[in-house]
């Protein structure tokens, strides 16, 4: 019995590793392909509205809006700073730019329920009228051509509901944690996102540096205000309609990532809770389980649950194997399996740092250590998220009661 369990665990573990390796190779293929630059000469430029939700963001907002003011877009471009009851200097900074720039607007979002980013975005949708809607987080510094590239890609095909750009870590070299987050983003958010697009024509909205056509957003009824991971939730509804979200690696924004473990844990727990909400929505709503959403569901479950479970199993397996507690009818080469899974993980990380020109001795060493450090943190994260979810259910709190501005602390 134990032998069969171990064998099936080993097979599923290696299937997952194979899937990620395939995504890595296909992501690399997608990245090395040269885009036809002639495609970006458009006859007409649709109007674009940029939404910047902001709740107490005075540490980062000046540089964000300065970068927004530097965006080059030939058509009409309006930037909405969505100030959701900030108590710091957020409003003052927004006013400073709104006074000087005709296309920057300081919008004071009226108080409402449930609190959070999705509600703020829905409010912005109701007061604006641009053909395309772009979202940037308040700590983002997009490159001047980021929006132009998203628009150009979206207009290439009628089936494109929008486009997703690249999010790079601005404080990657601040400390060990930010370096690991930076590498994780390069591998699992960027390179594998490209791989998914290359194989399945599947893109996922990343919450920032993303574009969605207003028409589609209105047809879908905007963002789900009860979703903590409102971007992933919107992706599911767009994909269920058979529409596509292409990945645009050339459209780059720079974002600040958590610099302390405590803040990282809080941010990722929020993401994981959002993920659990989407999984439950997928189970309840059969309309969502259409088109490529099956792959999306596998992706959601594998990133946050299967991957962590496998890391945990591999740890237990390794320890029990070393201590001689596991004896099966199969002759399983434990050490080789464990070593190769570490090595494949390292290769995936290294591939991403090479393709994004972040290869250096420090990043190579960190990539080698991440399986033993960063990947293990996810076990704590998974347990914490499930406990929080369980607590919420026990207290019979509906999602709306705990949807708040639980934003990442800025540095």
């Amino acid at each position: 019995m134990l032998s069969k369990i171990l064998l099936s665990i080993a097979i599923s573990f290696w299937l997952l590793i194979f899937y990620y390796s395939l995504l890595t190779v296909c992501g690399l293929m997608f990245r090395v392909k040269k885009e036809d630059t002639a495609k970006v000469s458009l006859g007409e430029y649709p109007s674009v509205d940029i939404f910047v939700p902001a709740h107490n963001e005075d540490k980062v907002l000046f540089e964000t809006l300065d970068a927004m003011a530097n965006l080059t877009y030939p058509g009409q471009l309006k930037i909405y700073v969505l100030n959701d009851n900030s108590t710091d200097q957020t409003g003052e900074i927004a006013d400073y730019f709104a006074r000087v720039y005709k296309n920057i607007f300081h919008i004071k979002v009226p108080p409402g329920f449930p609190k959070g980013k999705a509600r703020v975005l829905n409010y912005a949708l109701s007061i604006s009228e641009g053909d395309m809607v772009v979202v940037f987080d308040a700590d983002n510094q997009p490159q001047p051509d980021a929006v132009f590239k998203l628009v150009s890609k979206t207009l290439e095909n009628e089936k494109y509901a929008g486009a997703v750009g690249y999010v790079r870590t601005i404080n990657m070299y601040k400390n060990f944690l930010t370096r690991m987050i930076g590498i994780e983003f390069l591998a699992f958010q960027l390179l594998m996102q490209c791989g998914r697009w290359q194989i399945f024509k599947l893109g996922s909205l990343t919450g920032t540096n993303m574009l969605v056509k207003r028409k589609i957003l209105e047809e879908l009824g905007g963002w789900d205000p009860y979703a903590l991971a409102e971007d992933a939730e919107l992706t599911m509804r767009i994909t269920a309609r058979g529409l596509l979200l292409p990945v645009v690696p050339d459209s780059v924004t720079w974002e600040q990532e958590p610099e302390t473990f405590k803040i990282w844990l809080r941010q990722r727990t929020r993401w994981m809770l959002g993920n659990l909400y989407i999984v439950s929505k997928l189970i309840k709503d059969k309309d969502l389980r259409k088109n490529a959403n099956i792959i999306n569901a596998v992706q959601l479950i594998s990133v946050y649950h299967l991957f962590v479970a496998m890391v945990l199993i591999s740890d237990i397996w390794f320890v029990l194997g070393i201590l001689g507690y596991i004896s099966t009818n199969y002759k399983v080469p434990l050490l080789i399996i464990w070593f190769e899974s570490w090595w494949v993980y390292v290769v995936q990380l290294m591939a991403s740092i090479v393709i994004d020109r972040e290869v250096n001795i420090g990043n190579i060493i960190v990539s080698m250590l991440m399986y033993f450090t960063y990947a293990q943190l996810w076990i704590i994260l998974l347990i914490r998220a499930h406990l929080t979810n369980f607590k919420n259910r026990l207290q019979k709190r509906d999602s709306g009661s705990f949807i708040v501005w639980d934003k990442t602390v800025r540095f």
Partner: protein, 275 residues
């Protein structure tokens, strides 16, 4: 063609090193390997702290040490032909390996050092400010000296125009922020308003631009200032009235002494905020 030659050169070195390494593993014992590992480490340390030439000194010393070691080994191990031939072939292999190791390491270290030095030089040689598009302070001063001499020779006078704009104090950051996008707009407007062949515009700080108008009267200077304001007003997304309220524009006659003029620029630069 040069690119291919460079790639060929470095790739042949790497391939040779790899080939030798394989032979090295096949031929040498663990003890031999340890000795050469120590020598490689010595070369590495010498290059790390002293550079390529120090590495060469270590390489030479290593090659000589190997020669003495060979004599000693042959002396105590006997003088059979096969043994001596084996020792010599091992020596040749190890020397080739050490030389290639030195070549590769020196090449990579030199490239890294040169790359950093070139970047530093490039920074100094940069003529235009990357945000505003006007001249950098260093380039501005150099060109101003030439303009000043020419003005003196022709017995002409001119004006400095100083543009300085306000920033925003962010308490949580405990510093004043100056908008780069605003700097870009003002810089571009200045460039579009001056005579490109005669006048100069330079950035002397995060929030200060300086224009040199040669052979200009106060009236002429005022015309240029008005032109700058008009060009700012033409910017599509700018509330010019608000922005111009935040920009302090002053005209000063250029001093008759070069030292005084340079001193004026330096004072402006020190007065401008560097956050």
């Amino acid at each position: 063609m040069n690119n291919i030659y460079d790639r060929l050169k470095i790739s042949i070195t790497v391939l040779l090193q790899f080939l030798l390494f394989v032979i090295y593993i096949e031929v040498f014992t663990v003890n031999d390997f340890l000795i050469y590992f120590v020598l490689m480490f010595l070369i590495y340390i010498s290059i790390l702290f002293g550079g390529s030439l120090y590495g060469f000194v270590a390489l030479t010393a290593s090659i000589l040490a190997i020669a003495f070691g060979q004599v000693y080994t042959a002396w105590i191990s006997g003088s059979g032909f096969q043994l001596q031939a084996e020792l010599i072939s091992k020596q040749m292999l190890s020397i080739a390996f050490l030389i290639l190791f030195w070549v590769m390491l020196s090449h990579v270290v030199n490239l890294t050092v040169q790359n950093r030095e070139m970047k530093e030089k490039l920074k100094v040689l940069e003529r235009t400010d990357e945000i505003t598009g006007v001249l950098t302070k260093g380039e501005f001063i150099e060109r101003f000296k030439i303009v000043f001499t020419a003005m003196q020779r022709r017995n002409q006078s001119g004006y400095f125009v100083v543009l300085r704009w306000a920033g925003l104090d962010i308490k949580s950051r405990e510093r004043t922020y100056y908008s780069k996008s605003i700097a870009r707009i003002i810089g571009q407007s200045c460039l579009n308003s001056i005579r490109k062949q005669y006048d100069l515009a330079g950035a002397v700080g995060n929030n200060t631009l300086l224009i040199v108008l040669q052979n200009a009267s106060l009236e002429g200077t005022q015309i240029v200032i008005d032109r700058i304001k008009d060009n700012i007003k033409k910017e599509k997304n700018i509330n010019a009235t608000i922005l111009l309220k935040n920009v302090n524009v002053q005209a000063y006659p250029i001093p008759t002494s070069l030292d005084e003029a340079i001193n004026f620029i330096d004072t402006l630069s020190q007065g401008s905020r560097e956050e």
